[in-house]
């Protein structure tokens, strides 16, 4: 017994070492999937507060650049609206339907403006934190976009903060997209490395496209409405099994300088989910 106590006294640090490593290993493998890890992540509101202060400072410093970008984007959109409006009136000889359609489209998607407070880009499984949570109407699986294009999907929500899986998350991010005006669709996938380049996979062999054409969201899921910009096609490859194309695209969203985003809260999601559930129930009864 005495020997045992002496032994423990002499070598207790090894036991402690093994114990701490086991705890770390447990945390590493258990929580790195981020399920139920609100406490140990930046959705925790104390951490969120500190990140908010720090991003307040950096935001102020990059304000002029963001302003310039917004102005440019605004100008481009104005031109586009004017051009489309002119074309529409030309085709239909009716200048009021355009306005009505636009209002209808917008009322379907409620937008919640939010600020990015933490946006690391240095791993392959990046996660982004934004400063709006369930209290502001954000819920899991809502789409997040910015003035330049798609950003990601809400993954974890606390009262005042949310964690978003951005496009730049190699394991978890899969956004359904399509080639603008052509309709062939595929899945957006990022492999790590350059934060401005991603790939669209599973594009069917019969799809027609040109380099430099735009890829947009397909609208097949209820996360994003169709037509939100994703990026421009830069190069096309064959997939490994040769059954489909893999497109290299340059993302239109600049993730290295992202401050203001909007969460798209689609009111029809609940309705669609309920309808789907009802359909499943009626099939299983038969």
């Amino acid at each position: 017994m005495r020997n045992l106590l002496d032994f423990l006294k002499e070598y207790y640090h090894w036991l402690l070492f093994v114990f701490l490593e086991v705890v770390s290993g447990f945390l590493l493998f258990q929580f790195n999937n981020y399920q139920g890890s609100v406490w140990f992540s930046s959705a925790n509101s104390a951490m969120g507060k500190i990140y908010e202060w720090s991003s307040g400072v950096t935001k102020f410093l990059t304000l002029s650049e963001v302003n310039e970008q917004l102005t440019r984007r605004n100008l481009m959109l104005e031109q586009q609206v004017e051009m489309l409006g002119r074309r529409y009136t030309q085709l239909t000889h009716d200048s009021t339907t355009m306005e009505r359609n636009e209002m209808k489209f917008l009322s379907q998607y409620e937008l919640i403006p939010a600020k990015v407070i933490d946006n690391p880009l240095n791993s392959k499984e990046n996660l982004m934190t934004i400063d709006k949570g369930s209290a502001d109407g954000v819920a899991v699986d809502m789409g997040v976009a910015c003035g330049n294009g798609v950003v990601g999907v809400v993954y974890l929500v606390s009262r005042h903060y949310s964690v978003v899986i951005p496009v730049l998350n190699a394991t978890s991010s899969r956004i359904s997209c399509a080639i603008r005006n052509r309709g062939s669709f595929g899945y957006l996938h990022w492999y790590g490395g350059d934060p401005s380049v991603a790939y669209v996979e599973d594009v069917p062999r019969h799809a027609k496209f040109k380099l430099g054409e735009w890829v947009v969201t397909s609208g097949f899921s209820s996360i994003f409405p169709s037509g939100v910009s994703v990026g421009k096609i830069e190069q096309a490859y064959n997939s490994r099994d040769g059954l489909s194309y893999k497109l290299m695209i340059r993302l239109s969203t600049d993730f290295t300088n992202l401050r203001d985003v909007v969460v798209i809260s689609d009111k029809s999601i609940a309705e669609r989910a309920a309808l789907l559930q009802a359909a499943r129930d009626s099939i299983s009864k038969k």
């Binding site: 770390s24 929580f31 790195n32 140990f40 690391p120």
Partner: protein
């Protein structure tokens, strides 16, 4: 008591520097300085081993909480704390004090750089191998670990040169 305060100040300063500044550095898409290893390297000689391990684990856990990587820094930093207590013995000069401070001033520049170089390199190798667990690309891993270690070491020596004056 003074040492406890010293440690706590170090925790706060290193935490903020790492989380607010260094975590966002990504030099040439490979190197991220992990300056908080400095915390584990500078434990004085003959600090009780259990104490070193506990400090390292909890400091690592705080870093993890802020960087959304539960267990990663905690586990790796605990490992470094363990190695430090043994490795330091090989570097202390003969007839030196029992509770010798670990710094460039007491060990000499050559020995201190070698000691912190070895520990930082081990840290970066283990850290990035655990982080890249799913996608193993050994060239990228080696590149990231070595570049990050070099950058971290450089910053540490810069801090030492200010402190030793």
């Amino acid at each position: 008591m003074a040492r406890l305060v010293n440690r706590l100040v170090m925790v706060v300063v290193l935490l903020f520097v790492q989380v607010l500044v260094l975590n966002h550095v990504w030099l040439l898409n490979v190197a991220t300085p992990l300056l908080y290893v400095y915390f584990a390297i500078t434990f004085p000689r003959n600090t009780p081993k259990g104490e070193v391990l506990a400090w390292c684990f909890f400091f690592g856990l705080i870093i993890d909480t802020f960087s959304n990587t539960p267990g990663l820094a905690a586990g790796t930093l605990t490992l470094i704390g363990m190695i430090q207590t043994y490795l330091l013995e090989l570097f202390v000069p003969r007839d030196s004090a029992e509770n010798l401070e670990t710094s460039a001033a007491t060990l000499g520049w050559g020995k201190f750089s070698t000691l912190s170089g070895i520990l930082t390199l081990i840290y970066c190798l283990v850290f990035f191998i655990l982080e890249a667990f799913n996608f193993f690309d050994w060239q990228l891993w080696l590149l990231r670990a070595v570049c990050s270690a070099a950058l971290t070491l450089l910053m540490m020596l810069a801090i030492e040169s200010v402190r030793s004056k």
